[in-house]
Amino acid sequence: MNASPSWRLDLVDLKTVKLSLMGDWTLQYAEGQKVEDILIALSRFSRDSLFILDSSGLNKWDSALMVFLLEFVKTVNARSLNLDISGLPKGVLDLINLASEVPEREGSEKKKSSNDWLTLIGNAGGRLIQDGLRLTEFLGDSANSFRGFLFGRARFRAIDFWLQVQECGPSALPIVTLISLLVGLILAFVGAVQLALFGAQLYIADLVVLGMMREMGALMTAVIMSGRSGAAFAAQIGTMNVNLEISALKVMGFPPMDFLVLPRMLALVIVMPLLCIYSDLLGVIGGGLVSVAFFDIPVTQFLHRTAGAVHLADFFIGMFKATIFGALIALAGCARGMQCGRTASSVGDAATSSVVTAIVFIVVADSVITLVCDRLHI
């Protein structure tokens, strides 16, 4: 049988007031009971009275009663009224004791941070600067570790390096194939429509091969790899951070920069130019398909123009970019992984932020390189 919770105040004698609790004080039913109501009712009696609690009418109870009583006892004590709680069931008394046994620790309450916009902007700016400093420090550390590698002092397992090469290189071929072929197709289409206005469709070959070699090959591969390998690096290293594996490596004498970052960085720096060559080739094939199929350019003529349009310098600019992009992706991925916090959600944040950081780095680096090449007339 369920009875809704209620309470009643009775005057036992001139100096004693009895507060009786009745019915089911459970989470299901006790929502509406408010401590304030009782306090208002209590204030009608003399402050010197003895207030006794009576639970003989109490049926079922759970946390709802406890929360209610704890608040009640606290406020009544604060008003220094005379309260006798011994009439409560033993379990309730035990729980009240248990809950008040360990007092709230001094200063454990958290300070709420201010929310006005000036503070928010200031904090965001501060974080940005701090982030820049940490990335710079990470860059320095990895350069240091690379120097150690050149002198044969870096401590990492060759198998890790080859695993990363496998993971970043051959495993990425299908997606690189698809994207590069399509980018070549798109370049050819967009260019051909414009060139056809001047009857210069033949120059599609120039457009595609130069576009792929100097720019799109490296850029598209880099975007793919930052989403694929950069995010994977951040998640792997971040999870190791959460599991204290990084600390374990450190105390065993393996600097994580050598053991984790170096193989990944080397692998991406070596694999990226190779993927870029592959991507260039696929892009040209894509462009060729469009030229031959839609604009009636003979295959031999397309190949002839392609060979005539491209110079070795174009190829090397693309390779150079790919190498730099590879280093940047590895840097962003590993740095975010190493900075990862100790919680599950921070691993997700690290992966997201590694991709964002890598793409920003790539686009900025690409602009700088393109600008420098233009100034140097190469």
Binding site: L27, Q28, D94
Partner: protein, 250 residues
Amino acid sequence: MPDPVVTVENLTMAYDGFVIQRDLSFEINRGDIFMIMGSSGCGKSTLLLHLVGLLAPEKGDIRYGSESLFRASSSERERLIRRIGVLFQSGALLSSMTLAENISLPLAEFTKLSSGKIRKIASYKLALVGLAGFEDYYPSEISGGMQKRAGLARAMALDPEILYFDEPSAGLDPISAKLLDDLIKNLRDSLGATVVVVSHELPSIFSIGTNSIFLDTTSRTSIASGSPKKLLQETKDPRVKRFLTRDSSG
């Protein structure tokens, strides 16, 4: 008079056909602190995962009252599961939420209470485990022992009838472990809950256990049961004796 809350009947547990324990039959009575003991790797934690319904038995059945946990429909099962609270070995607090949010999560989902009331209940539960004032801390900001106690507060969020503990004192210093044992006992006494503890810590087993089952690794079944203190005095089985007396010889 014994009043079984949980009845296990001929339970056989296996991973991919590899039998961990077979033919386990026992009852857990209301108000018991029931210890599941045995050496490492004997299947204690696996048994716990079966009892709370996370793993399905290979054979046999587990009943809560008269209802079978595994033959129940999914809604009935959900209702059964809500009567139990589990403290996992590492606390298993959700790391992206504060302690108060961790405790409020089941309350918000399964009750119709207002958010103010839920917050008060969360504070009360934290006070019960000695963490008053730590409502807005994230699990990563407090110590391992505190995480464990916060995990206990979350396990108690819905005032469960049965509380399961997986190695509650693992990784705690002896004093914290003792305090946690006392807390478990106190909560059992005051809440009237039934407690099931997986443990191989002898001090805990003897100080709080009122009933127990002993799982053996080699024979892959239970070889003893009863009050741990009585077992220590009366058992004739050398394997049980050695475990309970920390004897590494033979």
